[in-house]
Protein backbone atom coordinates (compact mmCIF):
# COMPACT_ATOMS: atom_id res chain seq x y z
CA UNK A 1 0.00 0.00 0.00
CA UNK A 2 2.94 2.38 0.49
CA UNK A 3 3.41 4.49 3.60
CA UNK A 4 4.73 7.47 1.73
CA UNK A 5 8.42 7.04 2.61
CA UNK A 6 9.30 5.93 -0.91
CA UNK A 7 7.62 8.92 -2.51
CA UNK A 8 8.35 11.68 0.01
CA UNK A 9 11.96 11.97 -1.18
CA UNK A 10 11.23 12.35 -4.91
CA UNK A 11 8.32 14.70 -4.10
CA UNK A 12 10.64 16.84 -1.98
CA UNK A 13 13.19 16.93 -4.81
CA UNK A 14 10.46 18.00 -7.24
CA UNK A 15 9.27 20.64 -4.73
CA UNK A 16 12.79 22.07 -4.52
CA UNK A 17 12.97 22.38 -8.29
CA UNK A 18 9.47 23.80 -8.66
CA UNK A 19 8.93 25.95 -5.55
CA UNK A 20 12.48 26.67 -4.36
CA UNK A 21 15.21 24.89 -2.43
CA UNK A 22 13.76 25.79 0.97
CA UNK A 23 10.36 24.16 0.35
CA UNK A 24 9.14 21.21 2.40
CA UNK A 25 6.63 18.42 1.74
CA UNK A 26 4.11 18.21 4.60
CA UNK A 27 1.06 16.15 5.53
CA UNK A 28 1.50 13.44 2.89
CA UNK A 29 -1.54 11.20 3.19
CA UNK A 30 -3.00 8.43 1.04
CA UNK A 31 -6.60 9.22 0.13
CA UNK A 32 -7.97 6.31 -1.84
CA UNK A 33 -7.50 2.62 -1.42
CA UNK A 34 -8.36 2.13 -5.07
CA UNK A 35 -6.58 -0.71 -6.78
CA UNK A 36 -6.20 1.10 -10.08
CA UNK A 37 -4.44 4.32 -9.02
CA UNK A 38 -2.96 5.73 -5.83
CA UNK A 39 -4.19 9.18 -4.80
CA UNK A 40 -2.18 11.15 -2.23
CA UNK A 41 -2.82 14.56 -0.69
CA UNK A 42 0.12 16.70 0.43
CA UNK A 43 1.19 20.31 0.92
CA UNK A 44 4.36 22.02 -0.17
CA UNK A 45 5.37 24.75 2.26
CA UNK A 46 7.49 27.22 0.27
CA UNK A 47 9.11 30.41 1.52
CA UNK A 48 6.22 32.65 0.45
CA UNK A 49 3.24 30.34 0.10
CA UNK A 50 1.69 27.02 0.92
CA UNK A 51 0.52 24.84 -1.97
CA UNK A 52 -2.23 22.23 -1.51
CA UNK A 53 -1.56 19.40 -3.97
CA UNK A 54 -2.66 15.97 -5.11
CA UNK A 55 -0.46 13.17 -6.45
CA UNK A 56 -2.03 10.60 -8.74
CA UNK A 57 0.27 7.64 -9.15
CA UNK A 58 0.24 4.16 -10.65
CA UNK A 59 0.35 1.56 -7.85
CA UNK A 60 3.99 1.47 -6.73
CA UNK A 61 4.79 3.90 -9.53
CA UNK A 62 4.51 1.16 -12.13
CA UNK A 63 1.49 0.92 -14.42
CA UNK A 64 -0.02 -2.54 -14.36
CA UNK A 65 -1.55 -4.18 -17.40
CA UNK A 66 -5.11 -2.96 -17.38
CA UNK A 67 -8.12 -5.16 -17.79
CA UNK A 68 -10.40 -2.15 -18.16
CA UNK A 69 -10.36 0.59 -20.75
CA UNK A 70 -9.10 3.16 -18.27
CA UNK A 71 -6.66 5.60 -19.84
CA UNK A 72 -3.07 5.97 -18.63
CA UNK A 73 -2.04 8.62 -16.11
CA UNK A 74 -0.08 10.48 -18.78
CA UNK A 75 -3.20 10.59 -20.95
CA UNK A 76 -5.27 11.72 -17.97
CA UNK A 77 -2.80 14.54 -17.31
CA UNK A 78 -2.87 15.53 -20.99
CA UNK A 79 -6.68 15.59 -20.91
CA UNK A 80 -6.63 17.87 -17.86
CA UNK A 81 -4.31 20.21 -19.77
CA UNK A 82 -6.49 20.20 -22.90
CA UNK A 83 -9.75 20.72 -21.01
CA UNK A 84 -8.25 23.47 -18.84
CA UNK A 85 -7.09 25.27 -21.98
CA UNK A 86 -10.65 25.01 -23.32
CA UNK A 87 -11.97 26.76 -20.21
CA UNK A 88 -13.42 23.74 -18.41
CA UNK A 89 -12.85 23.84 -14.66
CA UNK A 90 -10.32 21.11 -13.86
CA UNK A 91 -7.38 20.89 -11.45
CA UNK A 92 -4.19 22.47 -12.79
CA UNK A 93 -1.48 19.91 -13.57
CA UNK A 94 1.96 20.99 -12.30
CA UNK A 95 4.10 17.98 -13.07
CA UNK A 96 4.01 14.73 -15.02
CA UNK A 97 6.43 12.02 -13.92
CA UNK A 98 7.50 9.31 -16.36
CA UNK A 99 7.73 5.58 -15.64
CA UNK A 100 11.18 4.56 -14.42
CA UNK A 101 11.82 7.78 -12.47
CA UNK A 102 12.09 7.87 -8.67
CA UNK A 103 8.45 8.93 -8.36
CA UNK A 104 7.34 6.53 -11.06
CA UNK A 105 4.38 6.98 -13.38
CA UNK A 106 2.43 9.81 -11.78
CA UNK A 107 1.29 13.41 -12.02
CA UNK A 108 0.89 16.26 -9.53
CA UNK A 109 -2.08 18.64 -9.63
CA UNK A 110 -3.45 21.39 -7.45
CA UNK A 111 -5.99 20.38 -4.80
CA UNK A 112 -9.34 22.08 -5.38
CA UNK A 113 -11.43 22.96 -2.34
CA UNK A 114 -14.96 21.67 -2.13
CA UNK A 115 -17.09 18.60 -1.65
CA UNK A 116 -17.42 15.45 -3.74
CA UNK A 117 -19.89 13.41 -1.66
CA UNK A 118 -23.23 13.40 -3.49
CA UNK A 119 -25.36 13.05 -0.39
CA UNK A 120 -23.79 16.11 1.26
CA UNK A 121 -23.99 18.22 -1.89
CA UNK A 122 -27.69 17.40 -2.26
CA UNK A 123 -28.57 17.84 1.41
CA UNK A 124 -26.40 20.40 3.21
CA UNK A 125 -27.45 24.04 3.51
CA UNK A 126 -23.98 25.24 2.59
CA UNK A 127 -24.62 24.01 -0.99
CA UNK A 128 -28.09 25.55 -1.42
CA UNK A 129 -26.81 28.20 -3.85
CA UNK A 130 -24.53 25.67 -5.56
CA UNK A 131 -27.50 23.36 -6.18
CA UNK A 132 -29.31 26.14 -8.06
CA UNK A 133 -26.28 26.86 -10.26
CA UNK A 134 -25.06 23.32 -10.75
CA UNK A 135 -27.34 22.36 -13.64
CA UNK A 136 -26.17 25.26 -15.76
CA UNK A 137 -22.56 24.74 -14.68
CA UNK A 138 -22.72 21.09 -15.72
CA UNK A 139 -24.33 21.94 -19.08
CA UNK A 140 -21.58 24.45 -19.80
CA UNK A 141 -18.80 22.10 -18.65
CA UNK A 142 -20.12 19.26 -20.80
CA UNK A 143 -20.45 21.54 -23.83
CA UNK A 144 -16.85 22.65 -23.23
CA UNK A 145 -15.54 19.10 -22.96
CA UNK A 146 -17.44 17.98 -26.05
CA UNK A 147 -16.08 20.91 -28.09
CA UNK A 148 -12.42 19.99 -27.57
CA UNK A 149 -10.84 19.01 -30.90
CA UNK A 150 -10.36 15.25 -30.85
CA UNK A 151 -7.59 15.23 -33.44
CA UNK A 152 -4.91 16.05 -30.86
CA UNK A 153 -6.09 13.50 -28.32
CA UNK A 154 -3.99 10.39 -28.50
CA UNK A 155 -4.49 6.98 -26.95
CA UNK A 156 -8.19 7.40 -26.29
CA UNK A 157 -10.41 4.39 -26.86
CA UNK A 158 -13.33 4.90 -29.21
CA UNK A 159 -16.69 3.64 -27.98
CA UNK A 160 -20.02 4.71 -29.45
CA UNK A 161 -23.46 3.59 -28.32
CA UNK A 162 -23.58 0.32 -30.24
CA UNK A 163 -19.99 -0.54 -29.23
CA UNK A 164 -21.03 -0.21 -25.61
CA UNK A 165 -24.10 -2.40 -26.00
CA UNK A 166 -21.92 -5.05 -27.63
CA UNK A 167 -19.32 -4.81 -24.89
CA UNK A 168 -21.73 -4.96 -21.96
CA UNK A 169 -23.87 -7.65 -23.52
CA UNK A 170 -20.77 -9.83 -23.96
CA UNK A 171 -19.88 -9.30 -20.29
CA UNK A 172 -23.48 -10.00 -19.21
CA UNK A 173 -23.74 -13.20 -21.29
CA UNK A 174 -20.36 -14.32 -19.93
CA UNK A 175 -21.63 -14.08 -16.36
CA UNK A 176 -24.32 -16.67 -17.06
CA UNK A 177 -26.95 -15.08 -14.80
CA UNK A 178 -29.78 -14.07 -17.14
CA UNK A 179 -32.35 -11.59 -15.83
CA UNK A 180 -35.51 -10.76 -17.82
CA UNK A 181 -35.43 -6.99 -17.22
CA UNK A 182 -31.85 -6.74 -18.47
CA UNK A 183 -32.73 -8.90 -21.49
CA UNK A 184 -35.56 -6.49 -22.29
CA UNK A 185 -33.23 -3.52 -21.97
CA UNK A 186 -30.63 -5.03 -24.34
CA UNK A 187 -33.30 -5.97 -26.89
CA UNK A 188 -35.01 -2.57 -26.68
CA UNK A 189 -31.76 -0.62 -26.99
CA UNK A 190 -30.76 -2.61 -30.08
CA UNK A 191 -34.18 -2.16 -31.70
CA UNK A 192 -34.34 1.57 -30.98
CA UNK A 193 -30.77 2.81 -31.42
CA UNK A 194 -30.67 6.48 -32.41
CA UNK A 195 -28.55 7.70 -35.30
CA UNK A 196 -25.02 8.23 -33.95
CA UNK A 197 -24.03 11.82 -33.16
CA UNK A 198 -20.70 13.25 -34.30
CA UNK A 199 -18.10 11.59 -32.03
CA UNK A 200 -16.57 13.88 -29.40
CA UNK A 201 -14.36 13.68 -26.32
CA UNK A 202 -16.60 12.05 -23.68
CA UNK A 203 -15.66 12.25 -19.98
CA UNK A 204 -17.21 8.84 -19.35
CA UNK A 205 -18.04 9.22 -15.64
CA UNK A 206 -19.48 12.73 -15.30
CA UNK A 207 -21.65 12.61 -12.15
CA UNK A 208 -21.76 13.62 -8.49
CA UNK A 209 -18.89 11.85 -6.78
CA UNK A 210 -16.51 12.87 -9.56
CA UNK A 211 -17.29 16.59 -9.42
CA UNK A 212 -15.89 19.00 -6.86
CA UNK A 213 -18.70 21.31 -5.79
CA UNK A 214 -18.14 24.41 -3.70
CA UNK A 215 -20.63 26.93 -2.32
CA UNK A 216 -20.88 28.65 -5.71
CA UNK A 217 -21.41 25.59 -7.89
CA UNK A 218 -19.11 23.38 -9.95
CA UNK A 219 -15.49 23.73 -8.83
CA UNK A 220 -13.71 21.07 -10.88
CA UNK A 221 -14.31 17.97 -12.99
CA UNK A 222 -12.27 14.98 -11.73
CA UNK A 223 -11.72 11.32 -12.61
CA UNK A 224 -10.97 11.27 -16.31
CA UNK A 225 -9.94 7.62 -16.31
CA UNK A 226 -12.92 6.53 -18.42
CA UNK A 227 -12.57 9.28 -21.03
CA UNK A 228 -13.07 8.13 -24.60
CA UNK A 229 -14.17 9.22 -28.03
CA UNK A 230 -17.91 8.68 -28.06
CA UNK A 231 -21.41 10.08 -28.25
CA UNK A 232 -21.99 13.34 -26.34
CA UNK A 233 -25.42 12.14 -25.19
CA UNK A 234 -23.69 9.43 -23.13
CA UNK A 235 -22.25 12.04 -20.72
CA UNK A 236 -25.52 14.00 -20.48
CA UNK A 237 -27.57 10.88 -19.73
CA UNK A 238 -25.04 9.36 -17.28
CA UNK A 239 -25.51 12.45 -15.10
CA UNK A 240 -29.25 11.61 -15.11
CA UNK A 241 -29.01 7.91 -14.17
CA UNK A 242 -31.01 7.43 -10.96
CA UNK A 243 -28.09 5.65 -9.23
CA UNK A 244 -26.35 9.06 -9.19
CA UNK A 245 -29.32 11.04 -7.84
CA UNK A 246 -28.55 9.78 -4.33
CA UNK A 247 -32.17 9.40 -3.29
CA UNK A 248 -33.40 12.64 -4.90
CA UNK A 249 -35.17 10.88 -7.78
CA UNK A 250 -37.52 13.76 -8.51
CA UNK A 251 -34.64 15.79 -9.93
CA UNK A 252 -33.57 13.99 -13.08
CA UNK A 253 -30.21 15.73 -13.41
CA UNK A 254 -28.03 14.31 -10.64
CA UNK A 255 -30.73 14.78 -7.99
CA UNK A 256 -30.41 18.59 -8.28
CA UNK A 257 -31.74 19.75 -11.66
CA UNK A 258 -34.19 19.38 -14.50
CA UNK A 259 -33.26 18.05 -17.92
CA UNK A 260 -34.66 20.93 -20.04
CA UNK A 261 -32.46 23.40 -18.12
CA UNK A 262 -29.40 21.20 -18.63
CA UNK A 263 -30.08 20.78 -22.36
CA UNK A 264 -30.69 24.54 -22.75
CA UNK A 265 -27.46 25.41 -20.93
CA UNK A 266 -25.59 22.84 -23.03
CA UNK A 267 -26.90 24.28 -26.30
CA UNK A 268 -26.41 27.90 -25.16
CA UNK A 269 -22.76 27.07 -24.43
CA UNK A 270 -22.23 25.82 -27.98
CA UNK A 271 -23.27 22.19 -27.63
CA UNK A 272 -25.67 20.46 -30.00
CA UNK A 273 -29.41 20.81 -29.36
CA UNK A 274 -30.56 17.44 -27.97
CA UNK A 275 -34.10 16.47 -27.02
CA UNK A 276 -35.19 14.83 -23.77
CA UNK A 277 -36.43 11.84 -25.80
CA UNK A 278 -32.88 11.25 -27.11
CA UNK A 279 -31.56 11.24 -23.58
CA UNK A 280 -34.01 8.44 -22.64
CA UNK A 281 -32.15 5.92 -24.82
CA UNK A 282 -28.84 6.82 -23.25
CA UNK A 283 -30.20 6.84 -19.72
CA UNK A 284 -31.63 3.35 -20.28
CA UNK A 285 -28.21 2.32 -21.50
CA UNK A 286 -26.60 3.94 -18.45
CA UNK A 287 -28.85 2.12 -15.98
CA UNK A 288 -28.29 -1.15 -17.83
CA UNK A 289 -24.53 -0.59 -17.83
CA UNK A 290 -24.44 0.07 -14.08
CA UNK A 291 -26.59 -3.04 -13.47
CA UNK A 292 -24.11 -5.16 -15.44
CA UNK A 293 -21.22 -3.56 -13.54
CA UNK A 294 -22.87 -4.50 -10.20
CA UNK A 295 -23.21 -8.06 -11.50
CA UNK A 296 -19.50 -8.01 -12.44
CA UNK A 297 -18.55 -6.87 -8.95
CA UNK A 298 -20.67 -9.61 -7.40
CA UNK A 299 -19.06 -12.09 -9.77
CA UNK A 300 -15.68 -11.22 -8.23
CA UNK A 301 -17.09 -12.66 -5.00
CA UNK A 302 -18.62 -15.66 -6.72
CA UNK A 303 -15.37 -16.64 -8.42
CA UNK A 304 -13.35 -16.12 -5.23
CA UNK A 305 -11.32 -13.25 -6.70
CA UNK A 306 -12.56 -10.92 -3.94
CA UNK A 307 -14.18 -12.75 -1.03
CA UNK A 308 -15.41 -9.60 0.78
CA UNK A 309 -18.96 -9.25 2.09
CA UNK A 310 -19.19 -5.97 0.18
CA UNK A 311 -18.66 -7.72 -3.17
CA UNK A 312 -21.24 -10.36 -2.25
CA UNK A 313 -23.82 -7.78 -1.16
CA UNK A 314 -23.47 -5.59 -4.26
CA UNK A 315 -25.20 -8.32 -6.25
CA UNK A 316 -28.36 -7.28 -4.42
CA UNK A 317 -28.19 -3.85 -5.99
CA UNK A 318 -28.90 -5.02 -9.53
CA UNK A 319 -32.64 -4.81 -8.78
CA UNK A 320 -32.18 -1.06 -8.21
CA UNK A 321 -31.16 -0.70 -11.83
CA UNK A 322 -34.02 -2.95 -12.86
CA UNK A 323 -36.66 -0.73 -11.26
CA UNK A 324 -34.95 2.31 -12.81
CA UNK A 325 -35.17 0.61 -16.22
CA UNK A 326 -38.84 -0.21 -15.69
CA UNK A 327 -39.59 3.37 -14.61
CA UNK A 328 -37.80 4.58 -17.74
CA UNK A 329 -39.73 2.17 -19.98
CA UNK A 330 -43.00 3.35 -18.46
CA UNK A 331 -42.01 6.95 -19.07
CA UNK A 332 -41.17 6.45 -22.77
CA UNK A 333 -43.32 8.66 -24.95
CA UNK A 334 -43.95 11.19 -22.21
CA UNK A 335 -41.98 13.73 -24.26
CA UNK A 336 -43.98 13.04 -27.42
Amino acid sequence: MGNGIDIEKPLTAWGHAHFGAGSRVEGLKRLSGGASQETWAFDVAASNARHALILRRAPGGVAAARSSEAVSLATEAALLGATSKAGVRVPEVLHVSAPGTALGEAFVMRRVNGETLGRKILRDDEFSVARIRLTRDCGEALAGIHAIPTAGLVDLPRSLGEDQIRKYEAIYRGLGMPRPVLELAFAWLKANAPAPATPVLVHGDFRLGNLIVDQNGLGAVLDWELAHIGDPREDIAWLCVNSWRFGHSEKRVGGFGDLPELLDAYAAAGGARFSAAEIDWWEIQGSLKWGVMCMMMYSAYKTGADPSVERAAIGRRVSENEIDLINLFEGLGRHA
Binding site: N242, G247, A312, R317, S319, I323, F329, L332
Partner: protein
Protein backbone atom coordinates in the same frame (compact mmCIF):
# COMPACT_ATOMS: atom_id res chain seq x y z
CA UNK B 1 -36.69 -30.59 12.56
CA UNK B 2 -36.62 -28.15 15.44
CA UNK B 3 -37.30 -24.48 15.31
CA UNK B 4 -35.94 -23.24 18.62
CA UNK B 5 -34.00 -21.14 17.80
CA UNK B 6 -35.41 -20.52 14.34
CA UNK B 7 -33.26 -19.43 11.42
CA UNK B 8 -34.66 -15.90 11.91
CA UNK B 9 -33.70 -15.87 15.60
CA UNK B 10 -30.15 -17.02 14.83
CA UNK B 11 -29.71 -14.34 12.17
CA UNK B 12 -31.17 -11.68 14.46
CA UNK B 13 -28.76 -12.75 17.22
CA UNK B 14 -25.72 -12.53 14.92
CA UNK B 15 -26.90 -9.17 13.55
CA UNK B 16 -27.31 -7.81 17.10
CA UNK B 17 -23.80 -9.04 17.94
CA UNK B 18 -22.37 -7.22 14.91
CA UNK B 19 -24.34 -4.01 15.57
CA UNK B 20 -23.96 -3.76 19.34
CA UNK B 21 -20.71 -5.54 20.17
CA UNK B 22 -18.39 -5.97 17.18
CA UNK B 23 -18.99 -2.85 15.07
CA UNK B 24 -18.42 -0.30 17.88
CA UNK B 25 -14.94 -1.79 18.42
CA UNK B 26 -13.96 -1.55 14.75
CA UNK B 27 -12.60 1.38 12.76
CA UNK B 28 -11.97 2.26 9.12
CA UNK B 29 -12.46 -0.42 6.52
CA UNK B 30 -13.42 -3.11 9.03
CA UNK B 31 -16.18 -0.88 10.48
CA UNK B 32 -17.50 -0.29 6.96
CA UNK B 33 -17.55 -4.03 6.24
CA UNK B 34 -19.32 -4.69 9.56
CA UNK B 35 -22.09 -2.33 8.46
CA UNK B 36 -22.31 -4.10 5.10
CA UNK B 37 -22.43 -7.46 6.90
CA UNK B 38 -25.26 -6.28 9.16
CA UNK B 39 -27.20 -5.02 6.13
CA UNK B 40 -26.67 -8.36 4.39
CA UNK B 41 -28.22 -10.16 7.35
CA UNK B 42 -31.18 -7.77 7.24
CA UNK B 43 -31.57 -8.72 3.56
CA UNK B 44 -31.63 -12.41 4.48
CA UNK B 45 -34.32 -11.76 7.12
CA UNK B 46 -36.47 -9.94 4.56
CA UNK B 47 -35.91 -12.72 2.05
CA UNK B 48 -37.06 -15.37 4.55
CA UNK B 49 -40.22 -13.34 5.19
CA UNK B 50 -41.06 -12.27 1.63
CA UNK B 51 -39.64 -14.74 -0.86
CA UNK B 52 -41.98 -17.74 -0.47
CA UNK B 53 -45.16 -15.80 -1.25
CA UNK B 54 -43.47 -13.45 -3.76
CA UNK B 55 -41.95 -16.35 -5.69
CA UNK B 56 -45.25 -18.27 -5.73
CA UNK B 57 -46.97 -15.24 -7.27
CA UNK B 58 -44.11 -14.73 -9.69
CA UNK B 59 -44.49 -18.36 -10.81
CA UNK B 60 -48.25 -17.91 -11.37
CA UNK B 61 -47.63 -14.83 -13.49
CA UNK B 62 -44.88 -16.55 -15.47
CA UNK B 63 -47.15 -19.52 -16.19
CA UNK B 64 -49.88 -17.19 -17.44
CA UNK B 65 -47.44 -15.15 -19.52
CA UNK B 66 -45.68 -18.15 -21.10
CA UNK B 67 -48.72 -20.43 -21.24
CA UNK B 68 -46.93 -23.35 -19.55
CA UNK B 69 -47.19 -25.02 -16.15
CA UNK B 70 -45.15 -27.33 -13.98
CA UNK B 71 -41.67 -25.78 -14.15
CA UNK B 72 -39.91 -23.98 -11.29
CA UNK B 73 -39.84 -20.19 -11.19
CA UNK B 74 -36.15 -20.36 -12.13
CA UNK B 75 -36.80 -22.50 -15.22
CA UNK B 76 -39.72 -20.29 -16.25
CA UNK B 77 -37.51 -17.21 -15.89
CA UNK B 78 -34.94 -18.80 -18.23
CA UNK B 79 -37.72 -19.35 -20.78
CA UNK B 80 -38.82 -15.73 -20.39
CA UNK B 81 -35.26 -14.50 -20.91
CA UNK B 82 -35.02 -16.58 -24.08
CA UNK B 83 -38.38 -15.29 -25.35
CA UNK B 84 -37.25 -11.68 -24.88
CA UNK B 85 -33.82 -12.32 -26.36
CA UNK B 86 -35.27 -14.00 -29.45
CA UNK B 87 -37.69 -11.13 -29.97
CA UNK B 88 -40.85 -13.19 -29.52
CA UNK B 89 -41.70 -10.96 -26.56
CA UNK B 90 -41.03 -7.23 -26.23
CA UNK B 91 -42.36 -4.05 -24.61
CA UNK B 92 -45.59 -4.40 -26.65
CA UNK B 93 -46.31 -7.89 -25.23
CA UNK B 94 -49.46 -7.66 -23.10
CA UNK B 95 -48.67 -8.16 -19.44
CA UNK B 96 -44.88 -8.39 -19.81
CA UNK B 97 -43.90 -5.03 -18.34
CA UNK B 98 -46.52 -5.34 -15.57
CA UNK B 99 -45.10 -8.75 -14.64
CA UNK B 100 -41.50 -7.51 -14.63
CA UNK B 101 -42.52 -4.54 -12.52
CA UNK B 102 -44.30 -6.68 -9.92
CA UNK B 103 -41.34 -9.05 -9.76
CA UNK B 104 -38.82 -6.22 -9.47
CA UNK B 105 -40.83 -4.46 -6.75
CA UNK B 106 -40.92 -7.72 -4.77
CA UNK B 107 -37.18 -8.26 -5.33
CA UNK B 108 -36.36 -4.72 -4.22
CA UNK B 109 -38.49 -5.00 -1.12
CA UNK B 110 -36.05 -7.77 -0.18
CA UNK B 111 -32.84 -6.26 -1.59
CA UNK B 112 -33.11 -2.47 -1.01
CA UNK B 113 -36.49 -1.48 0.44
CA UNK B 114 -35.32 2.13 0.88
CA UNK B 115 -34.26 2.63 -2.74
CA UNK B 116 -35.56 5.85 -4.29
CA UNK B 117 -36.59 4.12 -7.53
CA UNK B 118 -38.94 1.88 -5.56
CA UNK B 119 -40.76 4.95 -4.23
CA UNK B 120 -40.94 6.37 -7.75
CA UNK B 121 -42.46 3.18 -9.12
CA UNK B 122 -46.21 3.47 -9.43
CA UNK B 123 -47.35 0.62 -7.24
CA UNK B 124 -51.03 1.18 -7.97
CA UNK B 125 -51.40 -2.24 -9.56
CA UNK B 126 -51.17 -3.92 -6.13
CA UNK B 127 -49.42 -7.00 -7.49
CA UNK B 128 -46.70 -7.43 -4.89
Amino acid sequence: MHDGPSAEELIEAVKAFIDKTAAPQLTGHAAFHARVASNALATVLRELAIRPIAEAREKERLEALLGVTGDSAGALNSQLCEAIRSGSMDLSTAGLLAHLKSTTIAQLSVDQPGYSGLRSADTGNGLI
